[in-house]
Amino acid sequence: MATVAEITDTSPSSISLARRETLWGLVFLSPWLVGLVVFTALPIFASLGLSFTNFNILRPGDIRFIGLDNYTRMWNELWSNGAVGQSIGVTARFALMSVPLMIGLALALALLLNQKLLAGKAVFRTLFFMPVLIPLVASTIVWQGFLNGSTGWLAQILRAVGLPAPDWFADPSWALPGLVFLGIWGIGNMMLIFLAGLQAVPTELYEAVKVDGGGAWARFRHVTLPMISPVLFYNILIGVIAVTQYFTQAYTLDPTGNGRPGGSTFFFNLNLYKEGWTYNNMGYASALAWVMMFIVVAAALVLFRTSARWVFYAGSER
């Protein structure tokens, strides 16, 4: 227990004690601080600078400042449905299809696994989580086979019940839905986070709704949803960020990087990879990265701004 005298003591020895603590703290933070400068801050400024140049990694000597040329090229490609327009279109379509579906299914699954009536909860939790552990390249291969139009199981099941079966990854209008399936396979993380949120809801609140004569829907709408809204917000944010970083699955489907079939899986990062590593246009690729950065920050800001209206933080004055 510190005495009043100790707390108000400003003698040199106690100042140096505080300074020692700060010093030790900085020593412990130093790996991160060094990494922050070397692997984060410097690269951010470097890529911003590079985005105004024609830097080609095979001819580093030819580097020249070209002003906004990279950005005007992107702007033109955006409206002429060039590589930029096409890849942003694919990425946005995929985000609109997969994120709401993944959030909804992860929440539904978490609600199911949180049922008092369910036996063997831990086993089911493990089973639904397991695909998350499978390397993405491997799970893409599995789904490529599973969704094959002639030998895949889904096509065989659909044909067996008399439904038409598309050849997902060979059909431009079905390839993205195929990747949505693959995405749903990896909702285990979101599900666990929802589950933890559900388990933190105080049961008294449910009792209160019951006393007021509310049914299951009222319990969900007026207790569960507001109480897990921070977790919902977190999952949406993570889901959106994951789409902006989407690469491995699309590249495994088409290693030529063209987004087969017919460019229908030509995600933003395939274009970036192609420009940066196939054509070595690292100046232009940096400009692409900055546009993606801008989109992510804008999306995050929109989410944070709207969150004030629907995210409820229990126990905080806000």
């Binding site: 599973f146 199981w153 977790v231």
Partner: protein
Amino acid sequence: MTDDALPLPLAGSRRRSTGLRRAGFGISKLGVTLFTASLAMIFLLPLGYMVLTSVKDSDQILALNAPLWPASPQTYTAADGQAYQLYQVPLADGVKNLALEKPGRVTSTFIDPSTGQEVQWQGNWRSLSPVWSSIAPKLDNFATVLDTLNFPLLLRNTLAVAVLGTIGAVGSAVLVAYGFARFRIPGKNGLFLVLIMTIILPFQILLIPQYIGFQAIGWTGTWLPLIVPHFFANAYNVFLLRQYFLTLPRELDQAAQVDGASPLQILRLVIIPQAWPAIIAVALFHFFFAWNEFFGPLVYLSGHPDLATMTVGLQAYSATYAGSGTGYLTQAAALMAMVLPVAIFFFAQRAFMRGVVVSGVEK
């Protein structure tokens, strides 16, 4: 006295109603559990596809009406020692299993195994279904993959990158989290906010300058870019460990401090022994991350197949063998690539799940 008059019938009805409710509870419990089990089965159907396909051969994969389980077409060995494939042939007196001797588009010659007699059949033999054996998994597929994929090399490379990176990621995150959790540093809250913000930062923005930098110092074509950056503390791991350290009582630290322990000794002797669950979670996170990482190995190890990690090797393999005729090999390869992470997960799932939940919820 009125109290005594009522209880008897009430007690009886109450007992009956709880009994009924318990029976109803049991039935709905069974229903919910069965529903969830069938959902889990559908969810994991692609894994079933992978496992069964990985032990089939190309004949069965390409054949129509082939059984779901791994099987091979049955043959009949005729008197002359020659083996012929058996087909289900529709004859006037029903479908018979006959051995195909001379295939033809219009007329084919079969041998009836029961009599040894030749039978002429009108029709294209390609429209016939072969007779399938009972379960016959083709385990040589894995041996084929072991050879053609050079699996041992990929395993060694991936383990090296993953283990070295894990050491760096855990060590650095422990130090930094300790700094954030236990020391008064001016501007600490601002620094912590910066740390959280780096989680949202898109990786593309850092990638190109990092690549250029690593190339300038001659690190491309080595494992170093995949290992060294992890020695500088990942924001996610720091966050998770800091949250955990904050839950540990300070009294023990203070007691050790009074005894003259240095901050490093306190970390080693007081904090770390209490924080094993979180430390194991972080180690698993990084191990799985490294096992799964694709973009880094793709750009840094391109042109160096001798250094390739599992994901890059698997992707290259699938690009070569994904055609439906050899699809069983890519499925076998995918199965082999996922065995280790899935096995580790089953052994250490408690720690792992807790880690996911802490990092996601306790914001």
